[in-house]
């Protein structure tokens, strides 16, 4: 059965890992952060914001995770990941900029697994 609480985190994991792979390739090829990586970070940002919206709706609907403070921390931190990585990576004029972006992709994927551990309503 298709559930949006499963589909969005799964998409974020795939997108995050794909972004990390591409960004590491750029590091290997000695490239800087450019339009493609920034656009990919933008897509990741939108996906994470959609997930924040879904989780807030679940909380508003009366659902409660094992640890509410932890979940709220994740809701605040999640959308900051692509934003901060984009800023920090774009100012670097070497191959290490894309490496920062790769970390953001990996972090997004790991966050989905951790979210599932905090609250199994959020599938992966």
């Amino acid at each position: 059965m298709f559930r949006v609480t499963d589909a969005v985190p799964t998409t974020i994991i795939v997108a995050g890992l794909a972004l990390a792979g591409y960004a590491l390739l750029m590091t290997a090829l000695n490239r800087r952060v450019g339009g493609v990586l920034l656009a990919a970070l933008g897509v990741l940002e939108i996906l994470l914001l959609v997930l924040v919206g879904i989780i807030v709706a679940k909380l508003a609907g009366g659902g409660r995770p094992a640890s509410l403070p932890t979940l709220i921390g994740y809701l605040i931190a999640m959308p900051l990941v692509p934003l901060v990585a984009g800023l920090w990576g774009a100012v670097e004029r070497s191959r290490w900029g894309p490496a920062v972006v790769a970390v953001a992709g990996l972090v997004a994927a790991v966050l989905m697994v951790r979210l599932h551990e905090i609250w199994t309503v959020i599938g992966v």
Binding site: M26, R31, R32, G34, G73, P98, V100
Partner: protein
Amino acid sequence: MSPEAAAPPESAASAESAAQPRASTRTGPGRLLVAVYALFALSASARAVVQIATQFSHAPVAYVLSAFAAAFYIVATVTLAVGNPAARRIAVLSCSVELAGVLAVGTWSLADKATFPDATVWSGYGSGYGFVPLVLPVFGLLWLRRLGRRG
């Protein structure tokens, strides 16, 4: 949409840094190092605050060690980002404490499981965090040593 531009060749980059009195701790590989340190500073301190505030009696030793680790990640992040001579000395100290901490707590957590009903960042040499807590201070110290030689 512009593709990823090629980075300037190494010679241009080193000429650029040679113009400055000192190579920066936060550029080049340091950019990645500061990013990962910031990530661990944030996640370890947030986790420690939640654990100590909500369930301290469950695993007091583990949670105090988590807070201790978080404090040193914050110090390392800030000092590596600042990068002046005083900050570099503090960064070396901080990375050294982290390395000693992850080795000591890693060993302790394996030898005395009863003290650690819940994990710290350094439990099992950082195995819950992909062993990043083990390699991070090593890379930090190598990076600072390399800059120390150049500067």
